[in-house]
Symmetry: C2
Subunit: 453 residues, 2 copies
């Protein structure tokens, strides 16, 4: 498809391009536009019908949007802006650099501009920031026939028409779906058929909390109200999907010690940008792992006397890191899905304590057998004595227990302090557990080995 | 609310319970039922109206469902089953143990039973397994008035009525939304107003691929067709949300070396079950980290001569693990979102190579300065010579480069082999990188330090 368009562009056969694009979905047109060069993109974009152009525009990446805006005349820009949904315009204003924002605001009508400014006041992770103010409100005395007629006349431009809201003096009193209207008799009023037990969210709830409401109830749209139950916007399911997807991606990034790159795909992210989101974490973790090195140095004498102890340091550190990582990932995931909350901390620690004792014992027994049967008997390593094996395995059990308890507590603690739980996951836990494991290791070894010798 | 219901149950005031529950959303009723004891749950469930009961049932956890089914009489069971959507029934059959499935199948009508059997034939991660066969099809000559009338008479029981499908001899030829019908004139036919460029998915596509189509196009439902473009089902947006959420959770679990627990929350998972999904991975990783221990043992002589080298092993291992983890998490996330594919492998390795060289150099310089300024001058560790610092920092740079290239290649390689890329993320990469880092460390150290001495 892209190749065909490029050929047609070369031949200046614009009529054929128009014909080709007329049948395409606007999300596909957006993908196609991004595969063209900057100048080709502008030419093709101008061939799109007004409504299609705005829709395709809203699906494009921030980079492509900014290139297009640079190429637009003021009247082209204001034509696209007038067709965009208000929440897409607000997203655009948030994504663009200041100079572009100035041009955008200068080319919108005063009403839209004040709407944008109002929406921009909501914190960027709040429900207010993802909602749209384009929805259908109905009066309670309207009949279904009147309501359907009203939808016919005005509803088509609204982002979603299938769920309508019944208000009394701007306060939300009920919800009616088009489905309800279709089944009801033509003379039934909204007051009669509306659902009065309305599930709504607050504009100040976080966007993720609102997305979880969608996950729970399977709605297509949820009304967002202010502190006085006035209907100020609606959140649609497609925006909720975006929020959930980004939250999951961000969690994965943060747990792997990478600063999340908002809305930019890997292949479109530059090398220096990738370095920038990774290197500060690597430096921080590198410096904190010096602690572990320091502990080893301070026990150099013991290691000199028993060099075999060194060989089990990686295994102890790795197993501790893995055991802690398992616990923290499980907790971060539970917190993200809203399955567990800060108040469950005691139940969680108690559960992890039991899990870790069982895991610790199983691993210790396996390792004890492995050290004596494989390392000593099979591979003939004479330095492995019963006391060395006991010291390593006792440390292993203690490390697993510490790792799991630290691993589950830190993310919940972070959540309670209002921090991102994912930041406290894997790498930090590994560093902390490593240090604790080594202290345990050397203390236990010195005691056991001295005691037995 | 739960407390109030428990009180009313004690007083046997069932009328009041009925009244209380009448206003609640069925998802909330499901949550409430799960907070009651098994016998209380059954009593309250029997108080629900038939339609509500089935809806609440579909929102409940597998455990609670199986408890209820055990308590049901056959006629109660068949009443609930007759109200369930077919895709929810199929999910139920997949979740329940064999004995319960037998009872379920015995209590459904023959038509539903053959439908269930047909749907069960699709692989569990395919689009066929999440689709529903309850959708509205229209003929191409129907007028909008006829179509809306048809929706009024039959559509309300269908899982989604807002998107209707136009078929010719069971082949999908177009899509019409209720919105289109409301705006069109009453006499317009479906053939005139339908969208003929239909975006559909194959029943054999994976469920995750289909979920990504929702993410791209913001649809409420997508038609699923077989190899001959016959319409066999539709996937609704709420099912797509479930798929995306579970996929993200599973990725997080697998990357932390935990076997995913399908659809069970942390607090509902038993201690032994948690041990079972964690301990095999810990054992496997513990045994593979023995490799690292083996490498250390084989270089025991060098370590004995230069004990200071031991102190930097944790830092090198941690940084390697973190650098590899960053790359693998980024790639796993990109693969999950469909942003990158197996064929991009060369571009990705080339990008990671450049990123890793820059990261490696920055970290090496920082560490060199830290070793000489802080460890040697400030803390007065005399064992740190220029050659030791050079050896550690060269190894560090090489480790970061190896880690990032291994970290990005393994998940893509796994994907190409049809394995889960997330399995190849974090812990396995750490083990491999640890081993490579240590081999590099000892070889470099021996050469540099011997060369300089």
């Amino acid at each position: 498809m892209t190749e065909r368009i490029k050929e047609l562009l070369n031949d200046k056969n614009y009529t054929e391009i128009k014909k080709l694009l007329a049948d395409e979905n606007s999300a596909d047109i957006a993908t196609l536009l991004e595969e063209l060069s900057e100048s080709e993109m502008t030419v093709v974009f101008r061939l799109l019908s007004k409504e299609y152009a705005a829709e395709a525009f809203s699906y494009m990446s921030p980079d492509a949007k900014s290139q297009l805006i640079d190429a637009f005349t003021n009247s082209e820009l204001s034509a696209v802006l007038s067709e965009l949904y208000i929440d897409d315009t607000v997203d655009l204003v948030e994504e663009m650099p200041a100079s572009v924002v100035k041009r955008i605001l200068a080319n919108t009508d005063p009403e839209t501009r004040s709407e944008i400014n109002r929406l921009l006041k909501y914190p960027s992770d709040s429900t207010g920031s993802i909602m749209t103010t384009e929805f259908v409100t109905l009066g309670e005395e309207m009949t279904t026939e009147e309501a359907l007629e009203y939808l016919r006349s005005c509803g088509v431009d609204k982002e979603t028409i299938y769920t309508c809201y019944v208000t009394r003096k701007t306060k939300l009193i009920g919800v009616v779906t088009v489905r309800d209207m279709l089944v009801a008799s033509k003379s039934a009023t909204m007051a009669e058929i509306m659902e009065t037990n309305v599930i709504s969210v607050s504009v100040y709830d976080t966007a993720l909390e609102t997305a979880r409401v969608f996950d729970k109830y399977d709605f297509l749209a949820i009304p967002a109200v202010d502190d006085e139950n006035r209907l100020v916007g609606i959140v649609t399911v497609d925006d909720a999907i975006d929020v959930m997807r980004n939250a999951a991606s961000d969690d994965i990034s943060v747990m792997a010690a990478v600063t999340p790159t908002k809305g930019r795909t890997y292949l479109r992210t530059g090398v220096f940008e990738l370095v920038l989101v990774r290197v500060p974490w690597l430096l921080l973790l590198m410096i904190s792992s010096a602690l572990t090195g320091g502990i080893i140095t301070s026990f150099e004498a013991s290691l000199g006397a028993m060099p075999i102890l060194t060989a089990y340091i990686p295994m102890l550190m790795d197993t501790g890191g893995n055991a802690g990582g398992q616990a923290s990932a499980t907790i971060v995931r539970g917190l993200a899905l809203g399955e567990i909350a800060g108040r469950d901390i005691l139940r969680i620690v108690w559960k992890e304590a039991r899990v870790s004792i069982i895991c610790g014992i199983i691993l210790s027994i396996a390792n004890f057998a492995k050290m004596l049967l494989i390392d000593k008997m099979l591979l003939g390593n004479e330095s492995i004595t019963l006391s060395v094996a006991t010291a390593v395995c006792m440390t292993l059990a203690i490390t697993v227990i510490i790792a799991k308890i630290v691993g589950c507590s830190l993310p919940i603690g972070a959540k309670k302090l209002g921090l991102d739980p994912a930041v406290m996951a894997s790498p930090f836990i590994t560093t902390i557990v490593d240090a604790l494991a080594l202290v345990a290791y050397f203390n236990i070894s010195v005691r056991i080995i001295e005691g037995m010798m």
